[in-house]
């Protein structure tokens, strides 16, 4: 493992954050954080609780507009897009897995996974077929008609991963994606997510406090008190 100063920009980068700062009320969450993720690269963002990992992910996904600095996703400056445009960009090119699954309650698992396709105007039957295939990949082929309330935390998380991957995203952003899974399921889910980078050439950002998960990344960016504390190339 070797450490090097973090990059501040990169041509053709999948994700570029430049001097991003954000605070909740008076509590700073991010302080001038810069980060570039290239296509095909897996970056693990680590650090203690409250260091700004999730905020960084929300900024990268365009869910949160930073108070200072800029965020570029797939070459598009997110600050130049309104809410609708950010949502469209997110559903077409980005896969998101957040803590606790974030599935839509009262919708079957099949429809939950098919959602990004349906929102793009996809046919119901075709979208459901694609969703069933995605559920098979995460080992939930029998749970298609269940609603999120009927699932365990781990099952819901696997369904959220299936949903994030159904559009073959160019960027996958995941916040503690395997925290609620057992060791075997976690390994399977991670391999599935990493295939976005290893096989399809997409970029993957994993927010985690698990050293074993971080060890699977190409690069680790460690945050402390909202700043980049250390950046290490792992492979």
């Amino acid at each position: 493992m070797n450490s090097r100063p973090h990059e501040t920009t990169g041509p053709g980068a999948a994700l570029t954050l430049r001097a991003v700062s954000h605070a909740y009320s008076r509590t700073p969450a991010l302080r001038e954080v810069s980060l570039t993720v290239r296509p095909g690269e897996v970056v693990a963002v680590t650090g203690p609780s409250g260091c700004g990992k999730s905020t960084l992910l929300h900024v990268a996904a365009g869910l949160l507009v930073p108070q200072a600095g800029s965020a570029e996703l797939l070459g598009v400056d997110l600050a130049g897009l309104d809410e609708t445009a950010r949502a469209v960009l997110r559903r077409r090119d980005v896969g998101i897995v957040l803590q606790y699954g974030q599935l839509v309650p009262d919708m079957t698992l099949e429809d939950n996974v098919a959602l990004p396709l349906l929102l793009e105007g996809g046919e119901l039957a075709a979208s459901r077929t694609a969703a069933r295939d995605a559920l098979v990949r995460v080992g939930l082929e029998r749970a298609g008609q269940a609603v999120p309330e009927e699932l365990s935390g781990g099952q819901a998380q696997r369904a959220a991963i299936a949903r994030a991957l159904i559009t073959s995203p160019k960027v996958l952003l995941a916040d503690e994606p395997v925290a609620s899974l057992d060791a075997v399921a976690a390994q399977d889910a991670l391999e599935l997510m990493l295939s976005v980078a290893r096989r399809d050439g997409g970029a993957v950002v994993l927010v985690t406090h698990d050293n074993l998960v971080a060890a699977m990344a190409d690069r680790e960016v460690r945050l402390r008190d909202g700043r980049v504390d250390r950046e290490s190339v792992l492979r």
Partner: protein, 509 residues
């Protein structure tokens, strides 16, 4: 690598296909089922009130009841005939002079039902917000979320509209067919009523669309249970009140509007009611926005716990106050509907007092037609019953909404060892603190002017009827009945409280 599909202009509208919308809005959860049924029932009530207004407005005067000839100063004889509607209708409907009042009353009957429908649409707001947030996370635009929400509301309203036809028919059988001639309150059925029914379905579908769009506020979606959420603004209250004054008082003075004055009066009263309901909702919201003690301050019973209860079960009052702080939007909705119900009780008691003072208090009316007054009391009872039905429905909806939205909180408190009996008390106290002031205020606003008028009249004539204080007395009774109703309804829904307290609800996100 770059974004392959740049967002386009047409992304401003939802791309969801109808089949996907149908599938995504299918009623699957208990919350959706409650909301859908309550909205449809309230829309059906609105539809029936509209059909009553339509049927009364189309009554024709086709029966000659008398004629007389008079000679003018120029020696010319003129014959005048007195006509009224046939069909054995009650005098309120048969006599052309009295009919507009009945029509206006029927139109105003729409208001409590519509207010209830608005409240029903908001049931499960917490669940709805969670759903919206997760849809947005999955890449939905606000246009998608709006499309789904509108489809859900429209389906319930249209179902209610379709139900209104058979319900009107049932009502007609009771009030228009079964009653003896001379006291019927609904005119004979007419083929035009079929067209009116279809029109009502259309009106309700449009109302649902408007309601869904108006109720869809991005800012609200982005805040989670904020204290100011869903509270009508001061500007809204002021503008609606001023609009009411302009239509009812100013416009008739500055312009010739005699022919359209009944319509202006209805519109003006609607604006007044909206202003008053908004004011009641703001006042209810203000009761839960109490300043919190600074960190480190001595812990005492909070100000939101009434002094008289502080020595009693403080836990119950603490939990009730906390619950109310977390559901400002639901509280304001309930307070608004109950205020309108309070108004209907006030109006009913005022009408009853006027009839009693006229009938029993004045020798001038001793020989008048008893049937006329009986029909009048029937109408009073109808207004009171509508108010009571809507009030009970509003209270039930409020309780159900609280229990659906706060399942996790209720389960957490139960897990800490608070027994179900106490949780039921919490619901009763929280409900009472919203319901009683709103209902009493509504009843007082409607009853006070009548009482004042009757007092002035009695002072002029010197005849003091014992029925003059009736409207104000009813306000006190309304307060007591509302208190008891809250207690009974909370006990009635004890099963729901037990369900909400189930440990599995700790898993609800």
């Amino acid at each position: 690598m770059s974004a392959t599909l740049a967002p386009r202009r047409r992304d401003r509208v939802s791309r969801l296909r109808p089949a996907a919308v149908r599938s995504m809005t299918a009623v699957r959860s208990h919350t959706d089922r409650v909301r859908s049924r309550a909205t449809a029932a309230a829309a059906a009530g609105t539809g029936v009130a509209l059909l009553i207004a339509a049927s009364v407005a189309t009554v024709r005067d086709d029966l000659v009841v008398g004629s007389w000839t008079s000679t003018g100063p120029d020696g010319v004889e003129t014959t005048e005939t007195m006509v009224q509607a046939s069909g054995g209708l009650a005098p309120f409907l048969a006599e052309p002079g009295l009919r507009p009042g009945f029509t206006i009353a029927a139109v105003l009957l729409v208001l409590p039902f519509l207010a209830l429908a608005v409240q029903a649409v908001r049931v499960g707001r917490v669940v709805d917000e969670r759903r919206s947030r997760r849809l947005l996370l999955a890449g939905a635009t606000w246009a998608d979320v709006r499309t789904l929400r509108t489809a859900r509301t429209r389906a319930a309203f249209v179902r209610g509209g379709l139900l209104a036809g058979p319900l009107y028919l049932l009502l007609w059988l009771v009030l228009g067919w079964a009653l003896p001639a001379g006291s019927r309150l609904l005119p004979p059925l007419h083929p035009a009523m079929l067209a009116a029914w279809l029109a009502v379905v259309g009106v309700l579908a449009v109302a649902a669309q408007v309601l869904a769009v108006l109720g869809f506020r991005r800012e609200e979606r982005l805040t989670w249970g904020g204290a100011g959420e869903g509270v009508p603004s001061r500007t809204f209250v002021a503008l609606t009140a001023l609009g009411g004054v302009a239509l009812v008082v100013v416009l008739p003075v500055v312009a010739r509007v005699e022919r359209v004055y009944p319509a202006l009066l209805v519109l003006g009263v609607v604006l007044f009611l909206l202003a008053a309901g908004g004011g009641a909702a703001r006042s209810a919201a203000a009761t839960v926005r109490r300043p919190q003690p600074p960190v480190g301050a001595p812990v005492a019973a909070p100000r939101s716990v009434p002094r008289r209860h502080r020595r009693r079960d403080v836990t119950v009052h603490l939990l009730a106050a906390a619950q109310r702080r977390g559901s400002t939007a639901a509280i304001t909705g309930t307070a608004g509907v109950l205020f309108v119900c309070g108004l209907s009780f006030g109006v009913a008691s005022s009408m009853a007092a006027q009839l009693l003072v006229e009938r029993l208090g004045s020798p001038e009316y001793e020989q008048s037609d008893l049937g006329f007054y009986l029909t009048g009391f029937g109408l009073v009872a109808a207004v009171g019953v509508v108010g009571a039905v809507v009030a009970v429905a509003a209270l039930l909806l409020s309780l159900t909404d609280e229990l659906l939205g706060n399942r996790r909180a209720v389960a957490s408190v139960a897990a800490l060892g608070v027994e179900t009996r106490r949780l039921v008390r919490v619901q009763a106290v929280a409900l009472r603190r919203t319901a009683v002031p709103a209902t009493v205020l509504g009843a007082f606003v409607a009853a006070a002017p009548t009482t004042f008028g009757l007092v002035l009249e009695a002072a002029g004539s010197g005849h003091w009827s014992p029925f003059i204080p009736l409207p104000v007395g009813v306000v006190v009774v309304v307060g007591l009945v509302a208190t008891v109703a809250c207690e009974l309804l909370a006990r009635l829904l004890a099963g729901r409280v037990r369900q909400a307290a189930a440990l599995e609800n700790l898993r609800v996100p």
